[in-house]
Amino acid sequence: MAKNIQLIFRETFYFVFLAWLVFITLEIIFPNIILAYFNLNFLFLLEIIIGLFLLIKK
């Protein structure tokens, strides 16, 4: 169970990072497409929190 949770967190980490990259790319191509609705800093913060959690668990 614990391993599964760690796996879920690891996959979420990958997903958040990929989403962040995709959104930044979209934002570069079409300015304000994401930022008008959503602040990407929140996503970055989530990424750091998950990353720290994974590091501590390791």
Binding site: L7, E11, L18, F23, P31, N32, Y37, N39
Partner: protein, 510 residues
């Protein structure tokens, strides 16, 4: 052998278990990745949908009472900061005029409906609230539409009212049963019970009608200019001129000061009423800091004697040095900015107030308006000089130039040149004249919602100025001045914009 088989069975069971675990693990990873990829795809498609707006309709909103914002939003700022108070109350207060805000749109649209929820703390001398969009950056022109007009709201309670598709007709005594009936008479140039002409008994507000007045002419063909204005004027101007023959000759001499590094194109539009008859323009290629002389001359032989309008769309970096015309009268509309004169200027106006701004400290001076002396003692500040006078034409005299003079009437260099075919406008200086019997306006009164008023304006975005994906918008309370002790202000609770444009299919196939 037995042991081998036993071990084989044992090892194969272990391998099988391991394989099962791997399948389970892979399956969870696969499932997670599948779900996440799907989520990401949905998000990307959603954002692309919101970017393209394939159905051509979208609405954005900014609630100023809500402090939490997940994104930057689409409606930015209420500026400049000296005319807004963002800290003393829960809602932003507009304490000066005008206030600007911008609207980011991911693509272009044709029309916008702006719905504003507000609470006004405005005195009776500030009866009008308007909103509009920037249509021309060179002359800084906003297409303003009414949010609220308390003068009309008051008359609605007293006069008889009929309406048609956002146009209201108020009548002192009911003579017309519909707006259409009055419009038909307007096209003919006469109204019931108006023996002195429509200009004396009809007031308008946000109604696109300006009479194209025909005057008696003798069709004399003349090649010599009749009227020459040698007084240089700075920046954009509009003027009415009366033509007594069928030949129009206009020649403008300009000087591009090149004080700023922007390009200063020149555009001249000729109108009869609201109908555009012609456009003449000159591009600018030189932004270097030297004076540059330019000239535009045009002739028309197809015009009937009457009153026409010229719109000079130029920046403040350009001076109109000289106007030569075959017109017999020229009157500048709403604004005049004389510069480079030898001193002792005399102008005439038909309005009962004057707004004056000195463009430099050297222009501070006393000024005579309708025989009364007023003092302009601060540069860049707009002064308001009201006059209680029964005279129709008032003289303005002053010694130093570089004063920007504005009012809701016209200015002319001689008493005889004063012509104003405009109808009485129900603006903040509107005074109820007993001769006025009809009022026609494109206006809808605001509605009350809880403690707030909700009003809306519909604007055309087709010709609107858009830079970096943003439209520039304005909220105007004419006469509202910052620094009046905070007695008068407008609180904004919510701004909602509903945009309408072409659909994706129309864009592809048309």
């Amino acid at each position: 052998m037995f042991f081998y088989l036993l071990n084989w069975q044992k090892y194969s069971k272990i391998e099988e278990d391991m394989l099962n675990i791997n399948i389970k693990k892979w399956s969870l990873v696969f499932r997670l990745r599948f779900i996440f990829s799907l989520c990401l795809l949905i998000f990307v498609l959603l954002f692309l949908y919101l970017k393209i707006v394939p159905f051509g309709r979208i609405a954005y909103e900014r609630d100023y009472s809500d402090w939490l914002r997940s994104g930057k939003g689409f409606i930015y700022g209420l500026t400049p900061s000296e005319r807004t108070d963002l800290i003393s109350g829960e809602l932003p207060k507009l304490i000066g005029d005008p206030i600007y805000f911008s609207l980011f749109t991911p693509r272009t649209f044709d029309k916008v409906k702006i719905i504003i929820e507000y609470r006004d703390h405005l005195s009776a001398d500030l009866p009008i609230i308007e909103a509009g969009v920037l249509t021309d950056k060179i002359v800084w022109n906003y297409d303003l539409k009414p949010l609220e007009n308390k003068n009309i709201d008051y008359l609605r309670t007293k006069w008889s009212e009929t309406s048609k598709e956002g146009v209201i007709l108020l009548q002192k005594e009911k003579k017309y049963s519909s707006v259409q009936e009055l419009e038909n008479d307007l096209q003919q140039g006469n109204l019931i019970d108006c023996p002195q002409g429509i200009q004396n008994c009809l007031a308008v507000y946000n109604y696109p009608f300006s009479p194209s007045l025909k005057i008696g002419g003798n069709n004399i063909v003349t090649n010599e200019p009749l009227l020459i204005i040698n007084q240089p004027l700075r920046g954009a101007h509009q003027f009415f001129f009366s033509l007594s023959s069928s030949i129009l000759k206009l020649k403008f001499d300009f000087v591009d000061l090149n004080q700023d590094k922007d390009l200063d194109p020149i555009e001249i539009n000729l109108y009869s009423g609201d109908q555009l008859l012609g456009t003449w323009s000159k591009d600018d290629i030189n932004t270097a800091g030297e004076l540059e002389e330019k000239e535009i001359e045009f002739n028309r032989t197809d015009l009937k004697p009457g009153i026409y309008k010229i719109e000079l769309k130029i920046s403040n970096d350009i001076v109109i040095k000289k106007i030569e015309s075959s017109a017999s009268q020229i009157s500048f509309i709403n604004k005049i900015w004389p510069v480079s004169s030898a001193g002792n200027l005399a102008l005439y106006t038909d309005a009962s107030y004057l707004q004056v701004k000195a463009f430099s400290p050297a222009s501070l001076q006393p000024l005579k308006f309708g025989g009364k002396e007023f003092i302009v003692d601060e540069a860049y500040k707009q002064f308001y000089f009201p006059l209680l006078s029964t005279e129709k034409v008032k003289e303005i005299s002053f010694k130093k130039d570089d004063l920007i003079l504005e009012n809701n009437g016209v200015f002319a260099w001689s008493r005889n040149s004063l012509i104003n075919p405009s109808l009485t406008k129900v603006d903040r200086f509107f005074e109820m004249n007993p001769d006025i019997k009809y009022l026609i306006a494109g206006y809808t009164s605001p509605v009350l919602k809880n403690d707030f008023k909700v009003a809306s304006v519909e604007l055309n975005l087709k010709g609107a100025y858009r830079e970096n994906g943003k439209y520039s918008l304005m909220i105007s309370v004419p006469g509202l001045k910052e620094g009046n002790g905070g007695d008068n202000y407008l609180e904004i609770k919510n701004i909602r914009v509903e945009l309408k444009g072409r659909t994706l299919w129309q864009k592809i196939f048309n």
